[in-house]
């Protein structure tokens, strides 16, 4: 769902997260304005709850919501792991065969323009209302950017480097291990950074369509009762989780591929 290629002058899909004071100040000002504005104009809580009441609901409902959140996180993470593994495997296949690339890459590119999340109801028909359809939807959403990025990383290697290792009589296998694979690591991590929030989206959208557990179910259930405060508490939990997943991939990048540190 995000830009497939991690090269070129194109999009900034990942940004190194530092916290200088300005954005913190901006966020604080916005939140205070929201709190004060909602109080001053007497906006009813069911329309737009104030930040403080969202916070206190997050606290009071933690006992109920955190287990649901953990369930959703389990769906997202197992889908993420499956999608990354499958994506890497398919990318290896695509990188090794020009025939497979010619036949399958257009399909993968096509999938980037397709709202894959729309598969959610179909997965409910096939796999029921439990854990599995959400994990599979997360897997599907994660698979495409990973397959796309890793294939690009394995294939778009500087030809001079390949010529160099060939001049050293490196075998195709050695060229793969020493040149292609390290080159693909950066692409893999960029893909994972795109995919981590997608995994969570897959799990939550799956729960929107049919579930009786998970934070998506909690949000939709609160919406049906017009319990807007609870809803926003749930949404904030999901947001925090998404941010944590994103940051975790960033940390993984620093330990797996420290040479990428100076990337834009």
């Amino acid at each position: 769902m995000a830009e497939p290629s991690a090269s070129g002058p194109g999009p900034v899909t990942t940004t190194r997260v530092r916290l200088p004071w300005e954005p913190v100040a901006f966020a604080a000002v916005l939140l205070v304005a929201w709190e004060v504005g909602a109080r001053a104009f007497g906006v009813p809580e069911f329309l737009l709850p104030r930040p403080l009441s969202i916070l206190s609901t997050m606290q009071s409902q933690a006992g109920r919501m955190v287990p649901h959140l953990a369930f959703t996180l389990g769906e997202a993470l197992s889908g993420f792991a499956g999608g990354v593994l499958l994506g890497i495997l398919v990318a290896f296949g695509l990188a090794s065969s020009a025939f497979l690339r010619r036949e399958l890459l257009p399909l993968i590119v096509f999938s980037q323009s397709m709202p894959t999340a729309a598969l959610a109801p179909l997965l409910v028909v096939w796999l029921g209302l439990g854990f599995l359809p959400k994990a599979v939807l997360a897997l599907v959403l994660v698979f495409f950017p990973i397959a796309m990025n890793v294939t690009s990383g394995l294939v778009q290697v500087n030809p001079d480097l390949l010529r160099l290792v060939r001049s050293y009589r490196a075998t195709a296998w050695q060229a793969f291990i020493k040149v292609r694979l390290p080159h693909a690591v950066g692409y893999l991590i960029a893909g994972m950074q795109i995919a981590a929030p997608l995994a969570l989206i897959g799990a939550v959208v799956g729960e929107f369509v049919g579930a009786n557990r998970g934070i998506g179910f909690v949000i939709l259930d609160a919406a049906a009762r017009l319990a807007t405060v609870e809803m926003l508490a749930g949404i904030t939990y999901v947001g925090l989780t998404g941010t944590a997943m994103f940051l975790a991939v960033g940390a993984l990048e620093r330990s797996l591929a420290p040479w990428l540190g100076d990337r834009r």
């Binding site: 999009p11 900034v12 901006f26 890459l105 323009s113 109801p121 096939w126 959208v205 949000i219």
Partner: protein, 262 residues
């Protein structure tokens, strides 16, 4: 026999075609019921029979997407330009926006239904919210990531801030903006469909959920096919705009072709 196989493998698109044939055969041989997995021929029939129904709901979704995307471009463009012109806005907001990109905004969909109801508005707002971030972040990056030497050159010509903006920053930002639009276009469809999942009485997302509830899986597949067509048309028109706005970006095109065809 082997020779024939060889020739067949040289035909472009043979693998997807074989896949579809295998799907058709599997459904027929294994006797898979329609509601579990309709055969491709059954889906094609549904596409034909329900043509007008599908077109009507596609029109609704398309309208949501276009209105939402338009609002995202207008709002995002305004914010990105003000960030480019006012440094404090950039320093304060840009990291915040980049940060918010990782937050699954789709979860807000039920809130929008509470705010503005089951109609068009809540989906337009969802599409706007979800496509706003890639537009702003990419456009602002393009406006700001200019060669410092070029800026120094402009300053040595005594160019005003506005002149620098027009002559340097804006052209520099176009390719970034268009990649942002590509991301936004894909996301906008997701926003519209999930918005319709959460509460709607028309649109492809609604029709998907309805056909799902009635176990009319062939219709569900037909909806997915229309969604795919919409996605391809959106991407295609963006590519066309790109070729029209950035004829010089052809330099970049071979590289992209290497991604697709190597």
């Amino acid at each position: 026999m082997r020779g024939a196989w060889r020739v067949l493998l040289r035909v472009r698109g043979v693998l997807p075609a074989l896949g579809i044939a295998a799907w058709e055969a599997a459904v027929a041989v294994l006797g898979i019921p329609d509601y579990l997995l309709p055969a491709p021929s059954r889906v094609a029939q549904e596409l034909f029979v329900r043509f007008f129904l599908l077109v009507r709901h596609t029109g609704v979704t398309l309208q949501e997407v276009i209105l939402g995307l338009g609002a995202a471009v207008a709002g995002g463009g305004l914010l990105a330009v003000s960030m480019a012109l006012v440094p404090i806005l950039h320093r304060g907001l840009f990291p915040l926006l980049a940060f918010l990109q990782a937050v699954p905004k789709i979860t807000v969909a039920p809130l929008f239904v509470i705010w503005i109801g089951y109609g068009l508005g809540s989906k337009v707002l969802m599409v706007f919210l979800i496509s706003f971030f890639p537009v702003v972040v990419n456009l602002a990056s393009g406006l700001l990531q200019v060669e410092p030497d070029v800026l120094r050159l402009m300053r040595s010509y005594r160019a005003s801030r506005w002149q620098t903006f027009r002559a340097i920053r804006l052209p520099n930002a176009l390719p970034y903006f268009l990649s942002g639009m590509r991301i936004a276009a894909a996301l906008s469809l997701v926003g519209a469909v999930v918005g319709e999942f959460v509460g709607a009485d028309r649109g492809l997302g609604y029709l998907i959920l309805l056909s799902n509830a009635e176990l009319r899986t062939p219709l569900l597949f037909a909806c997915l096919a229309w969604l795919g067509v919409m996605g391809v048309l959106l991407f295609g028109s963006l590519q066309w705009i790109e070729r029209w706005l950035l004829p010089w970006a052809r330099v970049e095109a071979p590289e992209r072709r290497t991604v697709a065809g190597f």
